[in-house]
């Protein structure tokens, strides 16, 4: 069932690809980056590089940052991860998946009045360490957890 779903998704995207190639889609359909999107950060391969690209340096492990992630993810294409930071003045929470093709998965800005507690679904290509990164002041903190993936969600 899983594989069949994958095949269908694959062919759907092909149709789209052809439509782009044939010029059926508007010019805006070409790849472009949203304003303010940190391309460098999303191309990094490790926790330290990702933090560096976000504007920090060597993150410190913190017990006040709680990463919620499953021990075993049966389906790597949907893995629910969340992070709660009890570090005062947390202004940013990011998720880094070490063995994904690009390590940084998402970076959330937390304005004052918003809880430093976010969760989302991510894809994982294979079993990997997952990190939650929190920025407080100009310091970066992290929490780590290893997530085992039974079926990868990045390849085909």
């Amino acid at each position: 069932m899983e594989r069949r779903e994958f095949m269908q998704k694959g062919s759907g995207a092909t149709v789209l690809g052809l439509a782009v190639a044939a010029g059926l889609m508007p010019a805006a359909a070409g790849a472009q980056n949203a304003p303010g999107w940190n391309k460098t950060a999303f191309e990094t391969k490790s926790l330290n590089d990702a933090v560096k690209a976000l504007g920090g340096n060597a993150p410190v492990e913190s017990k006040d940052l709680i990463l919620q992630a499953p021990e075993i993810a049966e389906n790597g294409s949907v893995v629910r991860i969340g992070a709660q930071s009890n570090i005062p003045g947390t202004t940013q929470i990011a998720f880094v998946i070490e063995k994904n093709p690009s390590a940084l998965a998402a970076a959330f800005d937390i304005p004052a009045g918003t809880d430093a507690n976010v969760s989302t679904n991510v894809k994982m290509g294979q079993s990997s360490n997952v990190y939650a990164v929190a920025k407080a002041g100009d310091k970066y903190f992290y929490a780590a957890k290893e997530v085992k993936v039974t079926l990868g969600g990045c390849g085909g």
Partner: protein, 103 residues
């Protein structure tokens, strides 16, 4: 062009918890089609939530966020009956904004 987001915002005390389900392909750019060609990446790059003229959450996403992304966050000071609006932009320049009433 794209389907509406499903937004659920619930006030509890002085806090509003928002859950969003976005309808988007979130193609990673890693997969190959039947002919072995890489399917180009197509994903939401930025998403933000505005309440009462103020941004209460903004995020940058990479292609590792799942297809039809889920997102949960909460903020203080929201009132039931008020509106919250969520907007995203993807790497094709497509945009979408949807509103929901806080319950």
């Amino acid at each position: 062009m794209s389907d509406p987001m499903r937004i659920r915002a619930q006030a509890q005390g002085d806090k509003v918890t928002v859950r969003v389900l976005v309808s988007h392909e979130m193609e990673s750019g890693q997969r190959r089609d039947a002919a072995g060609k890489i399917i180009p990446a197509w994903f939401i790059q930025s998403i933000s939530a505005v309440y009462d003229g103020k941004t209460v959450m903004s995020a940058q996403w990479g292609p590792a966020v799942s297809k039809n992304p889920f997102l949960q966050f909460s903020f203080k000071g929201g009132k039931a009956g008020d509106k919250i609006s969520i907007s995203w932009v993807d790497n094709h320049g497509d945009k979408r904004t949807d509103e929901a009433v806080i319950s």
